[in-house]
């Protein structure tokens, strides 16, 4: 039985008489212990999807089944109880600004009528886990973005949830802070066995931490599977675009206006390194062998799920024969290659 099962989920909104279909017939299975990424451009419907997973948004049609329990069949009261198993963190942290760090972490426990003393003990344990023990008396306004998200994570863990939903949890953070928050999430997943669902528009986040991923475009789930598979062999246009938009640096936006123009003059290849070839100097050897420069338009290698993974986009020389030779050479070296066209 999957931890989270989404069946034929549809969500429509009505705004001023116009019906907007935010999600169309979504089917997903998320297993216990997964770190499951849901990625899409802004407006794709991913935030709506994650809010359907804890019924903050009620689906128009379809089912959300958490550990065998159909959320749609629960009363309002039962649903509130169920929500203590499904914690959530947010892009803008959403801490109580008038309460100090300790009281923020205690908050969900007090809602669940845990007595104050126990709640405080538990909150201190959690602040230890997220590395903020010395800040328990501070107020959110005195903390940095990363620290606020750590408090939010501690608060989310307070009720011993089985699932943690992260809605663009690192989108407001700088690259270093993003990396440290992702490390913390990884650690929580490993040590506490909590299933994590991550909503993001950054492929880098998915590659850094997720084992599975679903790609949402215009409310439709276009592709899902293992991160490795999708990253190496993206089938959908949406997946390809998301991979190409992704920069080596976490959290940066790629859309510099001059970039497409420069690339368009060249024939471009996207090369995917597998675990065996990531640390071989393939490109350097190729340049030596053909005695011709290639233009490295983008390059990135990463640790994905314990394997060295990477990609590069090369602008090839104009000579057609040379292009064929280079492609053949790269294939011989066991690299995945595909031509990249037009609108990168």
């Amino acid at each position: 039985m999957s931890e989270i099962e989404v069946k034929h989920l549809t969500k429509t909104f009505e705004q001023k008489g116009i019906v907007v279909e935010a999600l169309k017939d979504i089917n997903l299975n998320i297993e216990a212990g997964d770190i499951y990424g849901i990625i899409g451009m802004s407006g794709a419907g991913k935030s709506t999807l994650v809010r359907c997973l804890n019924y903050l948004e009620k689906p128009t049609d379809g089912q959300v089944i958490i550990a065998g329990q159909d959320l749609g069949a629960l009363s309002e009261k039962e649903l509130r109880k169920q929500r203590s198993d499904i914690a959530m963190i947010f892009q803008h942290f959403n801490l109580l600004m008038q309460k100090n760090v300790l009281d923020n972490v205690c908050f969900p426990l007090l809602i669940q009528k845990v007595n104050k003393k126990e709640a405080k003990e538990r909150a201190r344990e959690l602040l230890q886990i997220v590395g903020l023990s010395e800040k328990e008396k501070a107020y959110p306004a005195q903390l940095s973005g990363g620290q606020k998200q750590r408090v939010a994570i501690a608060r989310a863990l307070a009720s011993n949830p089985k699932i943690l939903l992260c809605d663009e949890a690192t989108s407001a953070l700088d690259p270093q802070t993003t990396a440290s928050i992702l490390d913390l999430l990884k650690q929580i997943n490993k040590d506490l066995g909590i299933t994590i669902v991550i909503i993001t528009h950054q492929m880098a986040v998915i590659r850094e931490i997720c084992n599975r991923v679903a790609i949402i475009e215009h409310g439709v789930l276009v592709e899902n599977g293992l991160v490795e598979d999708i990253f190496n062999h993206p089938k959908s246009q949406a997946a390809r675009e998301l991979i190409l938009r992704d920069l080596p640096e976490l959290g940066e936006n790629v859309n510099t206006p001059e970039l497409p123009e420069r690339i368009q003059t060249d024939r471009k290849l996207r090369i995917v390194f597998s675990e065996n070839s990531a640390f071989e100097p393939v490109i350097a050897n190729m340049i030596l062998k053909f005695n011709t420069p290639v233009n490295i338009l983008r390059a990135d290698t990463k640790n994905v799920g314990g394997y060295a993974k990477g990609e590069m986009i090369l602008g090839l020389p104009d000579d057609r024969h040379l292009q064929v030779d280079i492609e053949t050479y790269l294939k011989e070296k066991g690299l995945e290659i595909e031509e990249v066209t037009g609108d990168v």
Binding site: R83, L96, M97, Q98
Partner: protein
């Protein structure tokens, strides 16, 4: 400058004004606070939208607020007489003051509560908070600075209204100002009462803002 009867009268005036202002504010909040909460909760983007309830409250509040206080005072005389037994004096004045203050306070509360970040409310819901929890443990707590500033503004307005009630025998400093300053042309007494009203207003304002800023942890 003044003999002891006049000084005593002024002291009683201060006492009556404080009595009317504070009692009316308190009672005003007794009715206005729940009304403000109800407005926020039942509004379209509230935590439990309910158009009929919102609309009904909205209309009643606007109706009462659009009547000038002086007219309200006169309109309510039969009601006041029914409740208090007479229509003059400071206790009687509390009745129209509360009727005028409650809708004003409701609007103040509504605008304070609407400042609460919807994200924080969503976070609370995601933790399994009930609407009751959200109102009392999130909205009222997060909005407390703004609520206290609202109360400070309200108390100032009610102080002004209480002085206005003096024109129809409401008691307090306003009453003295009208009787001596207007009817008897004793400008000196009128100026003193005005000065006293200004001082009272300043005290309320200073204390209110001080409390609000001490409670604000957002900085």
């Amino acid at each position: 400058m003044f003999d002891s009867t006049i000084i005593n009268m002024l002291l009683e005036g201060i006492r009556d004004t404080l009595y009317m202002t504070l009692a009316s504010t308190l009672l005003g909040y007794l009715f206005g606070l729940p009304m403000g909460i109800l407005l926020t909760v039942t509004d379209r983007d509230g935590i439990k939208p309910n158009a009929p309830v919102y609309k009904a409250l909205d209309v009643v509040i606007n109706m009462v607020r659009s009547v000038p206080f002086l007219i309200l005072l006169i309109l309510l005389i039969p009601f006041t007489r029914f409740l208090v037994g007479k229509s003059y004096g400071s206790t009687a004045t509390i009745v129209p003051l509360v009727v005028a203050a409650a809708p004003y306070i409701a609007r103040m509360v509504e605008s304070s509560l609407k400042e609460v970040d919807p994200g924080v409310i969503e976070a609370a819901r995601s933790m399994g908070a009930s609407n009751f929890d959200i109102i009392f443990k999130v909205m009222l707590v997060e909005a407390r600075t703004s609520l206290i500033i609202g109360a400070t503004i309200s108390i100032g307005t009610i102080l002004g209204y209480s002085a206005m009630a003096g024109t129809v025998g409401g008691g307090g400093l306003g009453d003295i100002a009208v009787r001596y300053g207007y009817h008897r042309w004793q400008t000196d007494i009128m100026l003193v009462t005005v000065a006293l009203l200004i001082i009272l207003f300043q005290i309320f304002q200073t204390i209110g803002m001080k409390i609000a800023s001490n409670l604000d942890k957002r900085k």
